[in-house]
């Protein structure tokens, strides 16, 4: 993935973060989306370890030993930050107060199934807060490279890995395309500059609908 394609993917995902939202960004690519959100957008960032209104990542010399986000990064406060315990933090998640949860993925299926926490026999550190984030946010977005490090598709007709949540993903952002998961199945919404429909079909292991009109590029 060229850094250019990655940047465009991050920027495209950032465009769906709107003023008024409360948002949780997963570790990795989802967190990187933040740098593409306009500073004037009025958003409340939530972190599972008990913060609403997460501020910028702190410079090491300014880090507060008691102030990390759920990914372990030292962060700062903003005017209006609030701290609370882990039960309240997940009350925010489960009661539907997250307008958007952006997550990474190993696999996403065309029915909205998500697998992002376990590879049996290889990787099983525990699910952390992923299950609740994937099941209970009002909108669940997945942001990931279109293929894995070996070039294999990550968008499938069915997940083979243990599920994080069943049927809750609404939108997928990759370096090649934006898809929505709808009642009619996987629908292509936008396609990356320089990517052809044929390439996309070759690297996507699920059928998807292609709209009749011109596809927006990003």
């Amino acid at each position: 993935m060229s850094s250019n394609a990655k940047a465009r993917m991050l920027k495209r995902a950032a465009a769906d973060i709107l003023s008024g939202m409360t948002v949780n960004l997963g570790i990795g690519l989802p967190t990187e989306v933040l740098q593409y959100v306009s500073p004037s957008t009025a958003v409340c960032l939530h972190s599972e370890n008990g913060i609403a209104g997460v501020g910028q990542v702190s410079a090491p010399e300014k880090a507060d030993r008691n102030l990390i986000d759920a990914g372990g990064a030292y962060v700062s406060i903003i005017p209006g930050t609030a701290f609370f315990d882990s039960a309240v933090s997940f009350a925010i998640v489960r009661s539907g107060r997250l307008d958007l949860s952006l997550l990474g993925a190993f696999q996403v299926a065309s029915n909205g199934d998500l697998a992002n926490w376990k590879i049996p026999g290889k990787f099983s550190p525990g699910m952390g807060g992923a299950i609740e984030l994937a099941q209970k946010a009002r909108r669940v977005g997945v942001i990931m490279m279109h293929t894995d490090s070996k070039g294999n598709p990550k968008i499938l007709s069915q997940c083979s890995l243990p599920l994080t949540a069943k049927g809750h993903v609404n939108r997928i952002y990759t370096d090649m395309a934006v898809f929505d998961i709808t009642a009619e199945g996987l629908c292509l919404r936008e396609i990356a500059d320089g990517t052809s429909l044929a390439e996309l079909e070759a690297l996507t292991s699920a059928t998807f609908r292609v709209p009749n009109q011109d596809l927006p590029r990003f």
């Binding site: 500073p39 004037s40 009025a42 958003v43 409340c44 005017p79 209006g80 609030a82 009661s95 209970k136």
Partner: protein, 230 residues
């Protein structure tokens, strides 16, 4: 990145409440009761309300205004002994009253606010409280299923709020307010003062604005908020 601004006028905030709505009201006695929001609810006049509140206040106060105005179809509460109107309307079957043990009421609301479906407890086993409730055994011990209690609206009184809806409560005026603020589809706060962002220390926010939808500033506190003279 600023936080969203949820300030609203009282009229606009309450206008979302229509006939037949379920409405949680914070407060335990006078402290924490959102009298100004309730008065606006009386002024706008939606009817057939289900009101959820720890108590029914006293004569000529809060819930009593709604009862006297005929807006209440059902009251879910733990104790109404200080409100003769509520007792009379209940005895005349003019309103339905569902009594819930106080801590079970608090927890049914909290469980709703935490996005759960219900909880299991042994409170009330062997008493009339168990009537009509599903039995669920946990590790072989008998329990009762208590269902999550949600509402369309929560009306909440805070001492201080910021524009995002971070809340700070005074003394015993906290009671049901933060729980109800979590458990409603739309949470409307009246605050004695809206303070600038950052005035509330992040550790001393009692309820995150993530749960709040509208914040109304009270310009002055009517007498009903004061010490009750008996």
């Amino acid at each position: 990145m600023p936080l969203p601004d949820k300030r609203s006028s009282i009229g606009e905030a309450i206008s979302a409440i229509g006939d037949g709505a379920s409405v949680m009201l914070g407060g335990f006695g006078v402290p924490g009761t959102p009298f100004c929001l309730i008065r606006e609810l009386v002024r706008q006049g939606p009817r057939n309300l289900t009101v959820i509140k720890n108590d029914a206040n006293e004569a000529r106060m809060g819930v009593d205004w709604l009862l006297e105005n005929g807006q209440v179809a059902k009251l879910v509460t733990s104790h109404i002994g200080l409100n003769p109107t509520a007792m009379r309307l209940m005895n005349e079957a003019a309103i339905e009253v569902e009594f819930v043990p106080q801590g079970i009421l608090a927890e049914r609301i909290r469980v709703a606010g935490a996005g759960m479906m219900g909880f299991v407890s042994d409170i009330g086993l062997g008493t009339a409280v168990e009537e009509g409730k599903q039995r669920v055994s946990v590790d072989g011990k008998p329990g009762l299923l208590e269902t999550a209690l949600r509402a369309d609206f929560a009306l909440v009184h805070a001492n201080k709020a910021d524009a995002f809806g971070n809340l700070y409560f005074s003394a015993a005026a906290r009671n049901f307010n933060p729980l109800m603020a979590m458990a409603a589809s739309r949470t409307i706060v009246e605050a004695e003062a809206i303070v600038p962002f950052g005035t509330l220390a992040p550790e001393n926010v009692h309820l995150s604005g993530a749960f709040v939808d509208a914040v109304v500033e009270l310009n002055e506190l009517p007498e009903v908020y004061g010490v009750v003279q008996r």
